[in-house]
């Protein structure tokens, strides 16, 4: 009987895959906060309140200069948002955070209050990968959270396969790497070998604060402060860990698979 029962239950549940990106993006949890916006011009003179509470030293204020926040180092604890007396650092609620260049994560200056979202791959690579992207995942000191929220994209709710994106079991079958973790010394050789084994042309995606800049472990002698120290990175997706929606947005943005007129980010 159980086969019949199972089929009936399955039919009752219906299609559980979300409408996004054809429909609206799911809402982030209300306490998530999303990306940050930094308006250095609002800063109080000589105030260093945010700098002294940031656990990863993601905020700096060189003498005589404006405050600068590196969203790549940020682990989104929001301590600075709570502390800032001038409300110069605020949460935007936006899940979109992926960038192509490291410097696009530097926030603060006028005109650079928010991140500069990733551009798609060039036409040649888009032709190659746009409808079929195979990735090899390498965890290099990741704590299993970035891994879990990447893995979740393969479940029925997100169904990454519908975009032609798939995680494969061998670097030989891959078009690129998705790296998590600060790249520990212990994983340096394995990461290099994996990268070498991926046939060119290839891309590298760094997911999470650790893979971008070392995360909570930045500066430890046992880590490399991110994947870029070992391999060239084409896409940075911030977060600790990034919400699955943020990762999916990054992947689709890279492949130019997002039509934002149809799927605007959820308003808060």
């Amino acid at each position: 009987m159980y086969v019949f029962d199972t089929i009936v239950h399955r039919l009752k549940r219906g299609c559980e895959t979300m409408a996004y990106p054809k429909g609206p993006a799911p809402m982030l949890p209300d306490r998530h906060g999303g990306a940050l916006r930094v308006e250095a011009r609002k800063c109080v003179d000589d105030c260093n309140a945010c700098i002294s509470v940031c656990p990863t030293e993601a905020i700096v204020r060189p003498a005589g200069k404006a405050v600068a926040l590196d969203l790549g180092r940020c682990i989104f604890c929001a301590a600075c948002v709570e502390t800032c007396p001038a409300k110069a650092i605020t949460q935007t609620g936006d899940h979109r955070m992926a960038v192509r260049r490291r410097e696009d994560l530097m926030l603060g200056e006028s005109g650079r209050e928010e991140i500069r979202l990733a551009a798609a791959l060039d036409e040649k690579l888009r032709k190659l990968f746009g409808r079929s992207l195979r990735l090899r995942q390498v965890s290099a000191g990741g704590c299993a959270a970035c891994e879990a929220d990447t893995n979740v994209l393969g479940t029925i709710g997100w169904d990454l396969g519908r975009f032609g994106i798939q995680f494969v079991a061998s670097p030989r079958h891959a078009d690129g790497l998705l790296i998590t973790g600060p790249v520990t010394k212990g994983m340096e050789l394995a990461l290099k070998k994996t990268w070498d084994a991926v046939p060119a042309p290839k891309i590298v995606i760094a997911v999470g604060a650790c893979a971008i800049a070392g995360g909570p472990f930045v500066g430890h002698p046992q880590v490399n402060n991110g994947a870029a120290a070992i391999v060239p990175v084409d896409l940075f997706i911030p977060g600790c860990p990034p919400h699955p929606l943020t990762i999916l947005d990054g992947l689709l943005r890279l492949l130019d698979r997002l039509d934002e007129r149809v799927a605007p980010p959820a308003a808060r």
Partner: protein, 493 residues
């Protein structure tokens, strides 16, 4: 039996002055520890504390039946001491670790080799055990695995399909967590504790917060303890559900696999409802919790919890109804109770061997002193038992959460912490979803951390996986591995 121990007794989530910890010369200390282990105590942690004249060995023992912990230490040692492992296998990884960290040689240790330290750009794994014979072949897997999973290396000695021996070499994930705690707590310490094992954020953060509170001579407000218990059980629900889905996937039973993948996310989203982060980052802090669970939010949490628990139980029913699943789970990857006791298995893997071993019951701290969860025990020690314990714990944790949410406690959520007491040893155990998370802190004369020792349940349990594979078919490795689902980074630190 704890009444007659020469070790200093202390309850979970408490501390004592370092000078009150009884000490013996190393050989006598090892003998005293061995005597306690022989009469049923369990080794929670074993580590070195360096000082000017050598390294002191410290043992944290658990007398589960007496609901008490005990600590003892040696006088400073240099060079070598007689190995505890020679008589008690529970100590084998701990002694290798002390050797790696402090250079103390445990004489008579049968298998002294590195645990995790990197040598250049890869871990120092040392020589692998080899089985000789014309029919014997060796299979090497990892560090990079086929799925989206942390790195580790598995070395199988096989005769045909049969695994004669599995050796697990880790260290790829070593991020220097303990080293960074020296002289702490630092600004990033709470965040690092949340990522010791990212899927066990609440358990590690709670253990750390508890240790900090003990050192400050206080405890978190009751409302914070209540909220921590809610978050801890949500963490258990999410991971157990995910694991059952993964186990179903490994035996190609897709209905449960597909359903659990989604339901796991539903549980993670409940944690996100509490604090914005699906893994509970930022929720638990020394002194209390950072986010309030207001009544409207609690109502929503309960409603969504009911749906998710019902869905998870339904998905489990499909799993248990399937003869093909039972056929693949039963008698696969068996760990016998005697082995589990000998190697000091903890958590759900131990309970699946019929051992009653649950910190929430044996050493209740925090909210678990006031509200009890029945301990789930299943005999068998096989993949079936480990899956079965998970599915029963989903029911128990679901019911426990209903009770917790029905009886909220009013009050403050976070208190101020006084400076840490100098020269104090504090111990906190928390039953994470995998098992016992143990944090031990020792403060120096200024109240900073002189030594901070973290023992993730995976540290005890990886040996269990190696034993489960003996005599098994190598094709059963994925399902055995999934049935333990141990942490690599929690081990590597």
């Amino acid at each position: 039996m704890s009444a007659t121990t020469p070790f200093a007794l202390l309850a979970n989530a408490s501390g004592l002055a370092w000078t009150e910890v009884p000490e013996w010369p190393a050989a006598e200390f090892v003998r005293a520890t061995a005597a306690e282990l022989s009469r049923g105590a369990r080794l929670c942690s074993w580590f070195g504390v360096p000082d000017a004249t050598g390294v002191r060995l410290v043992a944290v023992l658990a007398f589960d039946a007496d609901n008490t912990l005990a600590v003892g230490r040696s006088t400073p040692v240099t060079g070598a001491y007689p190995a505890l492992t020679a008589t008690h296998s529970q100590g084998h990884l701990f002694e290798r670790e002390v050797w790696e960290q402090h250079g103390l040689v445990p004489e008579g240790h049968p298998w002294l080799k590195p645990v995790r330290r990197a040598n250049g750009t890869a871990p120092t794994v040392g020589e692998f055990f080899r089985v000789d014979g014309r029919e014997v072949h060796e299979v090497a897997v990892g560090p990079v695995h086929a799925g989206i999973i942390e790195p580790g290396h598995f070395r199988f000695q096989c005769a045909g399909e049969e695994v004669l021996f599995l050796e697990i070499a880790l260290g790829y994930q070593h991020r220097g967590v303990e080293e960074a705690l020296a002289g702490g707590p630092h600004r990033a310490t709470s965040n690092q504790m949340e990522t010791v094992a990212g899927d066990t954020t609440i358990a590690h953060a709670t253990a750390h917060a508890t240790v900090r509170e003990v050192l400050a001579g206080t405890e978190a407000p009751l409302r914070a303890q209540w909220l921590r218990a809610i978050a801890l059980e949500l963490e258990r629900l999410a991971n157990h559900t995910g694991d059952l889905g993964a186990l179903a996937n490994d035996v190609a039973f897709l209905p449960t696999s597909a359903a659990c993948g989604k339901i796991r996310g539903d549980f993670l989203n409940l944690t996100a409802l509490l604090c914005g982060n699906r893994f509970g980052r930022g929720l638990v802090r020394p002194g209390g919790c950072r986010y309030e669970l207001d009544p409207a939010r609690a109502t929503e949490l309960l409603a969504r919890l009911e749906t998710a628990v019902a869905d998870a139980e339904q998905a489990c029913t499909w799993l248990w109804d399937s003869a093909s699943v039972r056929g693949r789970f039963e008698n696969t990857g068996t760990v016998f109770p005697a082995q589990a006791t000998e190697i000091g298995l903890v958590g759900l893997a131990a309970r699946a061997c019929g051992l009653v071993r649950d910190v929430r019951y044996d050493h209740p701290a925090g909210w678990y002193r006031f509200a009890q969860v029945p301990v789930v025990v299943w005999p068998g020690g096989d993949v079936f038992a480990r899956a079965r314990v998970r599915s029963l714990e989903i029911q128990r944790s679901g019911q426990f959460l209903r009770e917790l949410l029905a009886s909220p406690i009013e009050g403050e959520l976070r208190g101020e912490l006084a400076p840490a007491t100098p020269g104090t040893l504090a111990v906190a155990l928390v039953e994470g979803w995998r098992g016992e998370v143990c944090h031990v802190a020792l403060t120096d004369s200024t109240g900073r951390f002189q030594r901070y020792k973290i023992t993730d349940p995976s540290f005890h349990n990886w040996s269990g996986l190696a034993l489960a594979l003996r005599g098994a078919a190598i094709s059963d490795f994925p399902i055995c591995n999934k049935s333990f689902n141990l942490s690599y980074c929690g081990f590597d630190l």
